[in-house]
């Protein structure tokens, strides 16, 4: 492990069964009087957005502008539109209530406003965005999750040019993230499982990537322990507030971990599958994880072995011979996947969610051009990625 690293996690986190009640006070501290809430239609429909509005209106009934037209994938058109609304209504802060797409959209709006640009394309890149104008920004995640409330990344589709823009900057992180168990209570079991496995993937990749460091390791292993104890329970009983809150914490911690130590091959291939075949991010991460772990095992066997104690517990760890622990870790991941598959139909192969043939060559080429591949500890060539995809698809003879 290198002791030359950078680590930043500037987000104030409020976690608890009623942490949402603190929202007015946090806005006051940030000097926000007229926030613009960004959310989506589904959350408005099921009443999650109303919970947030109710808390804000405890300070006195007032008009609170809400933009709920955020699509499944964040888009530059929507970001520009929200930017205009923000200025038109003289807002002085942003609140994002939603999952990864909503949070990424809100990050895009923050960028547009703080950097005073007319075109987001001017800001595309890695760590070139300066602090700019202060735009108070609060995130209330409703999935557990992408960990977007803790990350320095935003991915936004530039509609006119049909490209996905990736922005990386510490200045994208929100000021406050509120983790309240009531925000994820209505998440269906299948989505709970898929987003939970996404969180696991973040934590495992953060622990094993080239820029792993002692602080991100602490976040990652803590997240894995929480997932071990709570993910299946959250899928089995979504009304269990304690496990919902635990998963929200796991998601934020895994987000903080990978934000500072980066992710690797699972994400490189997953992003490519999302772009080419529109496979949901969480499903792609879940399906690819054990296959990429098998591929990486020749380099990462020891690190996977280290994670066994966090993922399977002390008893399993102690009972497994040291040289078997890496392999056992992958088996335990697979075991959890199968339990979740039986419980809620979480897919185990790409074929289950994408029965039409996938152009593996094209996906592999896109994965090769994903920045995440640069920090995967084991170099992956196009043929290696194709083999991983074939195995993940469930192709006969597709083995690693």
């Amino acid at each position: 492990m290198s002791l030359s690293y950078e680590f930043q996690h500037r987000v104030k986190i409020l976690s608890g069964h009623h942490s949402l009640e603190q929202l007015p006070k946090e806005l006051q501290d940030l000097g926000v009087v007229r926030p613009l809430i960004i959310s989506d239609e589904m959350l408005k429909k099921i009443g999650v957005l109303q919970s947030v509005l109710d808390v804000l209106m405890k300070e006195g009934e007032k008009e609170i502008p809400c933009f709920t037209n955020v699509p499944v994938d964040s888009s530059s058109d929507i970001v520009n539109e929200i930017g205009k609304v923000y200025h038109k209504l003289s807002c002085d802060g942003l609140i994002a209530v939603g999952g990864g797409s909503v949070i990424d959209t809100a990050k895009g709006v923050k960028m547009l406003l703080s950097q005073e640009v007319h075109d987001l394309l001017e800001l595309v890149g890695c760590e070139t965005i300066k602090r700019g104008i202060k735009i108070p920004f609060v995130v209330i995640p409703t999935t557990s999750g992408t960990g977007s409330e803790a990350t320095l990344v935003a991915v936004i589709k530039y509609v006119a040019k049909k490209v996905k823009m990736e922005f990386i900057s510490y200045h994208l992180q929100p000021d406050v993230a509120i983790l309240d168990s009531c925000m994820t209570k209505t998440l269906p079991p299948r989505i709970t499982a898929s987003t939970g496995m996404d969180t696991l993937c973040h934590a495992i990749e953060a622990y094993t990537c080239l820029q792993k460091n002692p602080i991100s390791d602490a976040y990652a292993t803590a997240a894995i322990a929480l997932i071990r104890d709570n993910l299946y329970k959250a899928v089995a009983n979504g009304n269990n507030k304690r496990v919902r809150l635990a998963m929200a914490n796991a998601s934020t911690m895994a987000g903080a971990a990978f934000s500072n130590s980066m992710v690797g091959l699972v994400h490189a291939i997953g992003h490519a599958l999302g772009g080419e075949c529109h496979i949901p991010h969480g499903d792609a991460m879940n399906i690819l994880l054990p296959y990429v772990m098998r591929y990486n095992r020749s380099i990462l066997d020891e690190q996977y072995g280290d994670l066994l104690i966090y993922f399977a517990g002390a008893d399993v760890y102690a009972a497994t011979p040291k040289k078997e622990r890496g392999k056992r870790m992958i088996q335990e991941v697979r075991k959890l996947q199968k339990r979740l598959h039986h419980r809620c139909g979480l897919p185990l192969t790409l074929k289950e969610i994408h029965p039409d043939p996938i152009d593996f060559e094209l996906v592999a080429q896109k994965a090769m051009n994903d920045g995440a591949i640069l920090v995967n500890p084991k170099k992956a060539e196009k043929d290696d990625i194709i083999r991983i995809l074939e195995a993940a698809y469930g192709k006969k003879g597709g083995r690693l």
């Binding site: 030359s4 595309v124 890695c126 760590e127 080239l210 920045g371 500890p377 170099k379």
Partner: protein, 178 residues
Amino acid sequence: MQLEKNKTISVGTKGIMLLERIICKVVLRVLQGGFQELYHLDHRIAEEMNQWENNMIYGLECPQGGASLYLQWKNGKLKKVKNPPITYHDAIIQFTSMYMAILVLTGQIGISGAYALHGFTLKGDIAKTMSFARCVDILESYLFPNVITERIMTAVPKKETSSLLVYASIMKNIITVH
């Protein structure tokens, strides 16, 4: 209270800065030659460059008074350009400090190592930059001996020709191309 206003850098630091600037200038010139010559000597470099967008500029900038290198891919040829107008189509890598620039340019860390250490910022599309990063890895496999490349890369690309030939071509490039 007396406020000390130092207007000058210490002599030692000045000397180091001068040396670093010279190293950057020399290595960037070698890189320019390397990219231009390896297009003809290594089919992987040709394959990567042939996929680059026409008129695309890749840049490497060393801060704190250091040199910069801008290479434009135009009509099938890679040319050095001076102070080009940069747009979002291009990809400009700026090292975050001269120290980081020296680490990369002298083969003490690779591109992936520099990325992991936040050693550079990137203005432009990350996806387009990956092709450039692969070319840099291939070029470094010729320029540096195995004892260095095995330490700085997760896997060293195999050479398609001899390093001696590459060095000779780069020397010729430095003398004849401007």
